[in-house]
């Protein structure tokens, strides 16, 4: 399991939520607020109406052309901190 298969490029299925990075923001009217979001090189115009606090550089989860939430970087880091603790537990259990 050294390498996972690489992600399929260019999939924009309706229901697959994908993370991307906000690279520009336009339109002050909250209902029509949009921005450009970069999905690993593919840049798309995305509605930011539902992420009123999102800033340039934030990562967002996008479904059907709408950013649904900003990814919380602290929570993302927490996952790997917890995993590190879990790994140490495993090592201890295995007497490493």
């Amino acid at each position: 399991m050294a390498n996972w298969p690489s992600p399929r490029a260019g999939v924009f299925s309706m229901c697959l939520g994908i993370p991307g990075k906000i690279v520009s923001i336009q339109n002050a009217d909250p209902v029509y607020r949009t921005g450009e979001v970069d999905f690993q090189g593919a840049v798309k115009q995305i509605s930011l109406a539902y992420v009123p606090d999102a800033k340039m550089g934030d990562y967002v989860i996008v479904h059907a052309g709408f950013a649904l939430n900003v990814i919380d970087e602290d929570e993302a880091r927490q996952v790997f901190e917890d995993l590190k603790a879990l790994g140490e537990l495993e090592d201890a259990a295995n007497g490493v």
Binding site: P5, V31, A64, G65, L68, D72
Partner: protein, 367 residues
Amino acid sequence: MNHLKQFRDPDAAQTLLAAIRRIVTRPHAVMEICGGQTHAILKYGLDRLLPDEITLIHGPGCPVCVTPASVLDKAHEIAARPEVIFCSFGDMLRVPGTHTDLFSVKANGGDVRVVYSPLDAVKIARENPSREVIFFAIGFETTAPANAMAAYQARREKLPNFSMLVSHMRVPPAMEALLASPDCRVQGFLAAGHVCAVMGTEEYPPIADRFHVPIVVTGFEPVDVLQGVYQCVKQLEEGRAEVENAYARVVRRGGNPAALRILSDVFEPSDQFWRGLGLIPASGFRLRDEYAEYNAETKFGAVDHASSAEPDECISGLILQGAREPHQCSAFAKSCTPEHPLGAPMVSSEGACAAYYRYRRLEHAGR
């Protein structure tokens, strides 16, 4: 930081797999609700890396697969009208109804257009005032905010030529329906992370309590899925049945307030037909009465749920309930392929049949 790379890290996955192996003492059946998770599980072979005690049951969470044939029949009827521009997510084009599919309607001269966002359909309506523009508004709670916004903008702009054919599903009532069925094997759930990103997690504690099942809100990358399985198995081993959030970087308890505001302005819960599962009480969204002018059923007549039929050999209902695996269908990879799908689960990239065809076809050939 590169989220995708981190959450696909094989070492992190190995840590979780080792932890799962350490805690598991007996068999457990866990259902992943969402087709996106099914896809990730097969693509990365996660089901094979897990200990034999753990069975992953694939759930009904593929919006393309559960859109009823009756609604597709209505879509095909509307899309064939000369005054109509019919806009749809691309996934829906090859899904068969009773007689045809949108792709064939288009080939026969229907003006069928693929859009990525429902707002693209609103734009087409603005630019084509002499045509009727219909958007095929399907999906779960993940697409509902997008579809709601399309209706919201159209009403605000008083666009007379825009309407939506709506077939919207809500996940929690479907989980209850599965759990209430007498032959349900599911002991724990991985809840669909992006559904919860919109709706929050408040709907789940009553389900966990009533059926005594752990429910773990789970993401879509390999590390996310394994983290969800780990937490779910840990609860099962400890005899707990709680709602836990293993996808806190995206899911907040209250969901997305801005999305929920527009969603409840436009939609209200309603009984809903699911392809393969039938009518489930309160399991859908319909347009509120204030949006009647933007409802395609007001303009073109109501969907007739009695008229549609499924091909005999397609067992998609059993597949969607997790009662059978795709390779157990006699048509799988023979008369039913992604090029010539008999049923919706073979069409959608999130459909279980398509995922098995893509990742498991060769080993099941000739069985």
